[in-house]
């Protein structure tokens, strides 16, 4: 655990040593602000209701591009620079490094959410919002983001090329996301509906976002995260 935190703190700081954190946070806030104020019919200023539906409705799509971008370098850069060799010949387990890196990405995710909190605060000042769906939206987004992150980290561990890591992370996340989206739209054949509903990142996100925290959804996200982190540790361990 101590080792996890050492790695997490090093990786988290490295987001801020490089322009990654600043670019990620500013573009993310810009995009989400735009989603909140201008997307939806009618847009926020003409709507007359204080709610964040357009914000949480678009978040899964925005994350699809943003999360692989913060995870793509985590392993591939170590492989490319050769620092993996120094790191893994120190007395530290692959699993500890995996968890540490995951925690660092998760930390950045939490920071990005904290920076969007002015939106609900503003809503509570100008009206009387229903906080159920808003907290539900935040909790669902955190779980969804963490799952994307675990997938992106796994993808990064497969290659020393950051672009490949990004596209791979994006593709796997998109697949797990899309099957649920298509199912909710009724676009999947009946035989696949059941599986898609259970497996998709999207259906569970929708369920939490309604404001009801069901243990099945939580267990689902935790298993996806643990599954991909476990695969990540395996692939890093079986280098060559």
């Amino acid at each position: 655990m101590r080792n996890c935190l050492i790695i997490a703190s090093k990786e988290f700081r490295s987001y801020f040593r490089t322009p990654i954190a600043f670019v990620f946070l500013s573009v993310f806030l810009l995009v989400m602000g735009w989603m909140f104020f201008w997307v939806g019919n009618p847009p926020f200023f003409k709507r007359g209701i204080v709610e964040m539906r357009s914000f949480f409705g678009s978040l899964p799509f925005v994350f699809l591009f943003f999360i692989p971008a913060i995870s793509m370098r985590m392993w591939s850069e170590e492989k490319k620079l050769g620092t993996l060799e120094t790191l893994l010949t120190m007395p530290i387990r692959e699993g500890e490094v995996v968890v540490g890196k995951f925690l660092a990405g998760f930390g950045l995710l939490v920071v990005s959410f904290v920076l969007t909190l002015p939106i609900p605060i503003m809503l509570s000042m100008i009206g009387d919002p229903d906080f159920g769906p808003i907290w539900g939206g935040y909790i669902g987004s955190i779980f969804l983001g963490a799952a994307y992150l675990a997938i992106g980290l796994f993808a990064s561990g497969l290659t020393e090329n950051q672009i490949v890591a990004f596209i791979l992370g994006w593709a796997v996340s998109l697949l797990l996301f899309l099957i649920g989206y298509l199912q909710l739209q009724g676009l999947l054949p009946a035989s696949l509906e059941e599986i898609a509903h259970h497996l998709s990142l999207y259906t569970h996100f929708q369920s939490i976002q309604r404001g009801v925290l069901d243990s099945r959804d939580v267990v689902y996200y935790l298993s996806v995260i643990v599954f991909f982190l476990f695969l990540n540790a395996r692939t890093v361990k079986h280098r060559r």
């Binding site: 060799e85 120190m90 530290i92």
Partner: protein, 314 residues
Amino acid sequence: MIEVENLRKSFGLNRAVDGVSFKISAGEVVGFLGPNGAGKTTTMRMITTYLVPDGGRISIAGVDAERDPHGVRQNIGYLPESAPLYLDMGVLEYLRFVAAIRKIPRGIRIERLKKLVKACGLEGMLDRKVGYLSKGYRQRVGLAQSMIHDPKILVLDEPTSGLDPNQIIEIRDLIKNIGEKKTVILSTHILPEVQTTCNRVLIIDHGKIVGDGDPEKLAASMQGGKTSFNVAIKGERKKVESALEAAPFLTSFSRHDVKNGESLYTLNSSETEGVGEKIFRLAVDNDFVLTELRREVASLEKVFASLTLGEGEA
């Protein structure tokens, strides 16, 4: 200190390391010498537990690498080829990170870091970003990193490659100092490096050990009881050559150059002792002026070429 038995590792069809065995005792500075792709790096990666061997046994300071890789890692400091470092970190920040993972107790951490910084000549560089350092300084940071836990054994993969001549000398001196207290394995394909820094050399080719021993003795054994001298003689050429012809202790000679009235010769003898003195006497007796007399030492280059290219006589 280090025992390696019948070590094997293949990548696909390529047998990178093919039955390597050796023992290294405490305090030795051993050079792995071999052409590129001979299996030096792969062997080092297995010793440092980065790669798991396909077969064979590695024991480091009595600890079996397969059974207790973390125990082995405690005893080894490793500097991989071209000193990989996190380019976005500061020098001190990086060393602190390594110290934390290496579990150096907080109480002695500062003291340890101070010593290392001094030993590796990193004073004044502590706040620099690693990415902005020259190759020589990166190598020093890499060395400092490898010694942070005061390991018994240091494994250095091509520690001087890519450095300029001044940096090479600095890093070699550093390694020499370290070698007085620790067991060191270093790999290189630069031959003079082995002669200046190591007291033993292992020549590796195609994944096998083809030569093992003291660098000087290995070179001498290649000459097989013969000596040769390079001489420059001032005198009438015909007279000189007929005198050399008549000398009983010389088996053959060859002239390669004539300049300013001096002739340069290589003289070969089947005797090993006192040949230099005899050449001097020969010159004095015939009233020649000897301006140069130098015994030719078989260089490691020749040993290396004959062992790795299969050439007979060097």
